[in-house]
Subunit: 339 residues, 2 copies
């Protein structure tokens, strides 16, 4: 009996904490991935490039197809690896001819990037459709010309048929269309987590340590920048001209105001190393360093550990992806060029 | 009535052809992938490294994990891409630091490699378990030390748990064990095709053109080397010292007799470019060139086209592979080293 009473009180206290926390989270601008499928579908869709099953399936193939790159060796998935939290786990991204990113920029995760309002580390474009055009062409990434991409795709009758199925018989297969199709696939890469279940009202979805971590996260001001559905991706807020550890690594200057995009915290346990230049390997170090340089707050070890507990709850469920079988090259397919 | 009679005669003739062809194929040493699952399972198994569900699942993760490589960028799947017919579609394989294979060797397909009696282009080892150790360590491929691989795997509690589940609590996670586990996954990568259905007795599984192509294939002597279940992979037969097109590409000398392993013809439509040095891009050219230098036979355009029709029937069904989600790195996981 005694045990039962204690338990009841504990549960009640926890529920109370949970209720307050939900209010605080909402106030702080934190939003869940909707549990309602229709609502979610509306949210991830782009009216100018609507999601259809045909486009997603085709986009998945293109995402995994290294022949879109000049070398035939690098696909979108090489650096935004869907097996590895959606990135590559390397400090500065490498690409064509083993070239490290010249600004020492780290590959950001593709998971949940549909929820970002700004893409790229300088946040220069709001749309995944535009983002998808970037790395394919970038010399140190996939290093392909739009002409190479179009010639590759149109050289394979199966791809042409799938484009026609997705967009109609009269489709013009352009580079933009290829990027749009990849973006459609990327729009589906959302990873709901225990955190979302909690924000959607399931109070015991987060354990006590995670709830406390969320409270610390909010109280310390982390949600000032890491908010919205993605807990980031919505603004350029990191002042790159400030004094921070490893600021001398890479020559990236941020946007016109010297600001860098706030990255998402979803699946952050799977996407080390951290920061735009990929210099911090331990999540705890990243938390403390961010507190110091962004919030002017001294986050002690216990607080950092508490926030880390919360961040673990952002590890989301990845939908099963069946590895696509790509159409075979034909005599018209541009030959790989590794130089 | 007239039409029906013609049709009956045609079907009878086709069946007759099919029966003769089955006998000829058997005589030529051609064997199907067994349709009986038990028989197949026995055939692909290795008594010294038995296939279990746990090992296959773990092996699949390891196969897709680029962190086994020194750079953290190259996995088994980078060059033996299961989306691309099990190879990379590049002339000479590239790997660590973008190094092209120093002997200008082409990545062979991993699909159906379980049916090979010899692995590597010089056929130096009969077992996939030994093969899997090679590319992980080769400097121009994954460039990892056995110590790196063991340190990587043991740094992640999920991997350790999966090894224990697969091999028992007392498992010693060695480099050999990692390779064995990858090989177990590779042993399952078999792709039954229309050709197998035909050899297993379904006479209409190959259309007339494909049956005629098979007959040409046998009559011309192709099955002298391309036989067994894999239509290759069983002997070193290509005399590298002969005179052939592009013989000056690469310095590969073959085995101690100057011989190169006969590659499988399964899924050959998906694995251009051809030959050990990846110099022939068109299947028809490969057929004619092989006839000339291996059989001393002039294969004319019509015959090459006929053989090509048959080879298309070797395109097999790939089992659905759900992209594995890899365990997150920990502070103990060796950092990627791209140098």
């Amino acid at each position: 009996m005694y045990t039962k009473t204690i338990l009841t009180v504990a549960v009640a206290a926890s529920s109370l904490l949970a209720s307050d926390l939900l209010t605080d989270a909402k106030k702080a601008g934190l939003k869940p991935i909707p549990s309602d499928k229709k609502e979610l579908n509306k949210l991830i869709d782009n009216p100018k490039n609507p999601i259809t099953k045909e486009k997603v399936e085709l986009g998945k193939k293109l995402y995994f197809d290294p022949r879109l790159s000049k070398s035939g060796f690098i696909s979108c998935n090489s650096c935004h690896n869907l097996s590895e939290g959606g990135d590559d786990g390397i400090g500065a991204a490498i690409g064509h001819k083993w070239t490290a990113n010249p600004h020492h920029l780290n590959s950001p995760t593709v998971y949940n990037s549909v929820f970002f309002n700004s893409q790229f580390w300088d946040g220069r474009d709001p749309h995944l459709e535009a983002q998808a055009q970037g790395p394919i062409q970038a010399a140190p990434e996939m290093s392909a010309t739009p002409e190479h991409v179009v010639a590759t795709v149109t050289s394979m009758p199966q791809y042409v048929a799938e484009f026609q199925k997705a967009y109609g018989k009269d489709v013009a297969i352009t580079f933009e269309k290829v990027a749009d199709t990849i973006a459609t696939f990327e729009r589906t890469l959302v990873t709901p987590s225990a955190y979302d279940a909690f924000l959607n009202g399931k109070k015991n979805a987060l354990n006590k340590a995670q709830q406390e971590g969320l409270k610390t996260f909010i109280d310390k001001g982390c949600a000032t920048c890491h908010n919205g559905i993605a807990l980031g991706g919505e603004m350029n807020a990191f002042n790159i001209t400030g004094t921070y550890k490893y600021q001398d690594v890479g020559d990236f200057k941020g946007d016109k105001n010297g600001m860098v995009k706030v990255p998402t915290l979803r699946n952050i346990t799977q996407t080390a190393p951290y920061f735009h230049n990929g210099q911090i390997w331990e999540l705890k170090d990243a938390i403390k360093e961010m507190g110091r340089i962004q919030l002017g707050a001294d986050i002690n070890d216990a607080e950092a550990a508490s926030i880390e507990e919360f961040l673990k709850a952002l590890e989301g469920k990845k939908a099963d992806i069946i590895l696509p079988q790509l159409p075979a090259s034909t005599s018209k397919t541009p030959k790989p060029d590794i130089n």
